[in-house]
Amino acid sequence: MRTPRLLALVAATAAAVPLAACGDDSGSDAAAGGSGKITVDASDTDCKVAAGQSDAGTVTFAVANKGNKVTEFYVYAPGDRVMGEVENIAPGLSRELIVELAAGTYETACKPGMIGKGIRNAFQVSGSAAPLTEDAKLAQATKDYQRYVKSQTGALIDKTTEFVTAVKAGDIEKSKALFPIARTYWERIEPVAESFGDLDPKIDAREADLEAGQKWTGFHKIEKDMWVAKDVSKSGPTADQLLTDVKTIVDKANTVTLSPVQLANGSKGLLDEVATGKITGEEDTFSHTDLWDFAANVEGSQAAIAALRPALEEKDPALVKTLDERFASVEAALGKHRDGDGWKLHNTLSQADLKALSDEINALSEPISKVAALVAGK
């Protein structure tokens, strides 16, 4: 079977395994994994997965969105570790998810409207799998996170393209609706983006960040055009530049492999972003859509921790339990501010609401700050 062999290889060569060996491009090898395609009928209220189990190996899900909302499909290992996902499946479209699964207990999830925990189903994979060594678990973490980045950047380009198209068409209402959604994919992987020095400010600089004489480009420039000037007739060039910059950064992001320590620091960095920019409403000062960015930062942080989870389980199970509880607690606290498929505007939250959210982020950030030293093994 493919999976154990692959894992053994990873164990032997540790972090040096080239990314080409990982699951996303392994569709041609599907026969070795056992089952054929498993169909998923997704609607706005239902997620019908044709089979609840599979043999270990490559599993292919064919996801058809028969609802009216854009949906996503995920396969989770325990602790919501994302094993594979397809983002941004528009109504009427079908997409495939090819995922490498070792024996174990999983969950599938459709997320109509792309929000919340989604509609979950149990998914059991049988077969044998060699236990991973600690180094292999860490190598696997970087691989898993790389896959996450890839899925997010794909959606980032798609949604930024839609946003830019709407801006250039002069459709200000549609542009406003797409603005926080496109930013969601950006905010989930911001620590990766930030590693490319000058591109990050070109895409995401806030007006307050600018030096005297510096040209302002990116999301927030268009945000001001939409919400303050209420005129996007001159925003076309900025929009085009944004898409170019996003595509450039995505190309670069997909060549980067983050080390386990970088993953840990990234998960902390995302929460710092929340604590410094989103709680205060500084991020989206014109649109007040900060809670979209807030949620995305937390999701990105959780994805990085989830990738590290197997290694952390071995090193400090109590910490994993604490992190699970506190992520759940943040999610519950943030959930109070849902508004339909989106979020309430930052300027409608009371000081007490913001204090409660700030407490939650502090409570989560302290244990997360311990993860880097653990995975560094010191």
């Binding site: 320590v261 506190r326 000081q351 409570a363 302290e366 030293a373 560094a376 010191k378």
Partner: protein
């Protein structure tokens, strides 16, 4: 690393001691200053330190809300706090790995700003507020009657956001950075369990709590705390300060109740008030602090003395009269307040005043009646606003290293 050890080293090795891993020591005239030998206050004892301890010069007071519903998590945190507090009051870092001794990949266990500083007489005093005794942790039956919420006093302009709290810590030290360091590290240890509700910095103690201390001045320029309860007055302390067996629940026996009031002073109008009127309002002379009926600071005020026109020398509305034990059924307080200046307000006025702290055996018989009288009649009210209020039950001291804050309360 032990902070005090660093100091000792620096003292011995003179200027050259500021090598890697140590921190340069404050110096006067190029000579390192060794701390005085008496810069450490014992954290353990029959009473909590920081009550009758000779008042230090600096304060960082903090009130927390408990945000967990998990009693075990709260008790765990109190245990961690106690360990850190015991270390910090000895001049050590908050955790055993300290500010620089841990993994390079991990955030330092101690925040580091007190490296190289002496213990500076740091005391950390804990109190539990009335709100802690609701249904969350099953403490209703343990709530002392004396911990009844303070009433609203006439003229109060209390801001709830800077009032109350489930737990408070009073950090006092002779170095402001040492006090701030202690509160910062406790707040950090408490993340996820407690959340800082409000905090207040103070400087320039406004009371003496020992006869060895000179009486300091508050920001009105008057000596404050002349008639305070003092550490040496042991029988008065037993009557007025310490909770006795039978006063209430056992866990508070040997403890004391703390009232805090942030009192904003209307500085600019006060400064335009004539010396005569200032002294009349206070009832003491501004230079020496003597009661207007006497000559020396420690002369007992004589409220019966009348002046030329037959008017009482100490006015019926003078602060010293209204607050005096003889006018309040003998009620006395151990005051331990500090001046504060929080910069200036948007109108260019000094945002300043007195952060009043008073300890007592039972607020219902001490602070409440005295403040009721002051709030109604004190002429000083024209120049002050009470903007924050707190009440906390401070249990007795910890006897040994295996004891921890709140153990008898949560037992």
């Amino acid at each position: 690393m032990q902070r005090r050890k660093v100091i000792g080293l620096a003292g011995a090795g003179a200027v050259a001691a500021a090598t890697a891993g140590t921190v340069a020591i404050r110096a006067t005239g190029g000579e390192p200053v060794a701390p005085p030998p008496s810069d450490m206050i014992d954290f353990y004892g029959e009473r909590q330190a920081g009550i009758i301890t000779p008042a230090q010069d600096r304060l960082h007071f903090v009130a927390f809300d408990v945000i967990t519903k998990d009693k075990a998590a709260l008790v765990d945190m109190l245990e961690s706090w106690t360990a850190a507090a015991a270390r910090m009051t000895r001049g050590q870092e908050a955790g055993t790995l300290g500010a620089v001794g841990g993994s390079p990949e991990a955030p330092p266990e101690d925040t580091g700003e007190a490296l190289g500083l002496p213990a500076a007489d740091l005391t950390l005093t804990i109190g539990f507020g009335p709100s802690l005794f609701d249904s969350r942790f099953g403490l209703r039956a343990k709530k002392p009657a004396a911990l009844a919420d303070l009433p609203k006093f006439p003229g109060d302009t209390i801001d709830p956001a800077i009032s109350g709290g489930d737990i408070c810590v009073q950090a006092c030290a002779n170095d402001p950075q040492v006090a701030v360091h202690a509160v910062r590290n406790l707040a950090r240890i408490g993340m996820g369990v407690v959340s800082v509700r409000w905090s207040q910095l103070g400087f320039g103690r406004t009371s003496s709590t020992s006869t060895t201390q000179a009486t300091p001045r508050n920001l009105f320029g008057f000596k404050d705390g002349t008639a305070n309860l003092k550490a040496e007055e042991t029988s008065l302390l037993d009557d007025h300060l310490w909770v006795r067996t039978g006063d209430g629940p056992d866990w508070m026996t040997g403890g004391s109740y703390m009232v805090t009031r942030k009192i904003r002073m209307l500085i600019e109008p006060w400064d335009r008030t004539s010396l005569l009127e200032q002294e009349t309002i206070v009832g003491r002379d501004k230079g020496q602090g003597a009661p207007l009926s006497g000559h020396g600071e420690f002369d007992e005020p004589d409220f019966a003395v009348r002046g030329d026109g037959g008017e009482p020398v100490i006015a019926t509305t003078a602060h010293v009269r209204l607050a005096h034990p003889t006018q309040n059924n003998g009620a006395r307080l151990l005051r331990r307040g500090y001046n504060f200046v929080d910069g200036s307000d948007g109108l260019g006025r000094l945002d300043a005043g007195l952060f009043f702290i008073a300890y007592q055996r039972d607020p219902r018989r001490q602070f409440v009646p005295v403040q009721t009288k002051l709030a109604r009649q004190d002429q000083l009210n024209e120049y002050i606003r009470h903007v924050s209020s707190g009440l906390f039950a401070c249990p007795p001291g910890l006897r040994a290293a295996d004891d921890f804050w709140g153990r008898s309360l949560f037992a």
